[in-house]
């Protein structure tokens, strides 16, 4: 079933995007990504080990021809750092895609939305395809798009928390007013969480810890794949309305 979506002319076939952090080794990373069916993987930008050149490279395990590589600016707490990491990422990679993070608080890893807005505007002007990681704030989502964001990535809950969709109503408002794709990023814990995000009408879900931290990451990756598919189908099928009282589904006619 072809069900793609597009960000700035780039086609995305998978509605599940996955991170590559916290895995036991590169082989487990590769197997989990394969099981998830994702065609987008996020990566971080860090110093190359110049003393131990035998250390393996992530891209030897994740073929950039097969997957779209989405670099992030994780760990950046200032606009300057986020810009610096973005520019390095573009040079190290193959595309203008950047998952922009400007973190505002160490404990919650909530974004600094003021810095995020500033960095989004600058990078968009430099030709980046900016996907900002933001709070589930409908006004902020609009402002980010006005500043040049190509898609908006509201959080479900704090990064790595596994709390799931904490504010479905805000997400619904963000989705209702959206003029770009909306990708829920961070905080989901299990397959039902991604199903809920997709049922709400989100275009995709990005997660990492929920798979990498599961007892069996490969099995959880597969569960997430089905969760996304179930949620997406349910969204497209159109769910029934909620009612307080029962409605019989067997006919009265023919009863004794």
């Amino acid at each position: 079933m072809e069900d793609k979506f597009i960000i700035r002319g780039i086609e995305f076939r998978s509605r599940l995007w996955v991170g590559t952090g916290k895995y036991k080794d590169f082989d487990e990373t590769r197997r989990a990504i394969e099981a998830s069916g994702a065609d987008v993987v996020t990566v971080a930008v860090r110093r190359t080990n110049i003393t131990d050149r035998k250390s393996e490279n992530l891209l030897d395990f994740i073929d950039p021809k097969k997957y779209k590589i989405l670099p992030n600016t994780a760990g950046c707490y200032t606009v300057e750092d986020a810009l610096r990491y973005s520019r390095l990422a573009r040079e190290a990679g193959v595309s203008d895609l950047i998952k922009l993070e400007v973190i505002g608080d160490e404990k919650t890893l909530f974004p600094d939305n003021i810095g995020l807005l500033e960095a989004t505007e600058i990078l968009a002007k430099e030709g980046f395809i900016v996907l900002p990681y933001t709070t589930d704030d409908p006004v902020m989502a609009k402002r980010l798009v006005d500043a040049g964001a190509a898609a908006v990535m509201p959080l479900a809950a704090p990064i790595g928390s596994g709390l799931g969709i904490r504010n479905p109503y805000n997400l619904k408002i963000i989705l209702e007013q959206a003029t770009t794709p909306i990708i829920v990023d961070a905080g989901v814990g299990t397959a039902s969480d991604v199903a809920i995000a997709m049922e709400l009408g989100c275009d995709a879900v990005l997660l990492n810890t929920a798979i990498a931290g599961a007892k069996d990451p490969i099995m959880m990756a597969e569960a997430m794949k089905h969760g996304v598919m179930a949620g997406r189908l349910a969204y497209k099928a159109g769910r029934i309305g909620k009612k307080l009282y029962a409605t019989a589904s067997s006919p009265f006619e023919g009863m004794l």
């Binding site: 996955v18 991170g19 590559t20 952090g21 916290k22 895995y23 590169f26 990373t29 996020t42 990566v43 971080a44 930008v45 860090r46 110093r47 190359t48 110049i50 003393t51 050149r53 490279n57 992530l58 891209l59 590589i69 670099p71 992030n72 994780a74 610096r84 520019r87 390095l88 990422a89 573009r90 040079e91 190290a92 990679g93 998952k99 993070e101 890893l109 990681y133 990064i159 790595g160 990023d185 961070a186 990005l206 997660l207 990492n208 810890t209 990498a212």
Partner: protein
């Protein structure tokens, strides 16, 4: 020539360009980005970009990461 590369001071660098430095450090050039004194240097310029004594260089690549 003395350079600071990824936070480490390296004395006695023979390389005159970025490409030569990557070769000297045995870093595969395809998957890295290089910054000299806080400015990103395009891959196309690695062959010709001249390094100078005291330059501060960062060589980065992609690693596993989510958010």
């Amino acid at each position: 020539m003395k350079l600071t590369v990824n936070g480490e001071i390296i004395d006695d660098v023979k390389a005159g360009t970025i490409s030569e430095l990557l070769g000297e450090l045995k870093v595969a050039p395809g998957r890295v980005a290089v910054e000299v004194n806080m400015a990103v240097i395009r891959k196309a310029d690695h062959d010709t970009f001249r390094l100078h004594d005291g330059d501060v260089i960062e060589i980065v690549n992609f690693v596993g990461g989510g958010s």
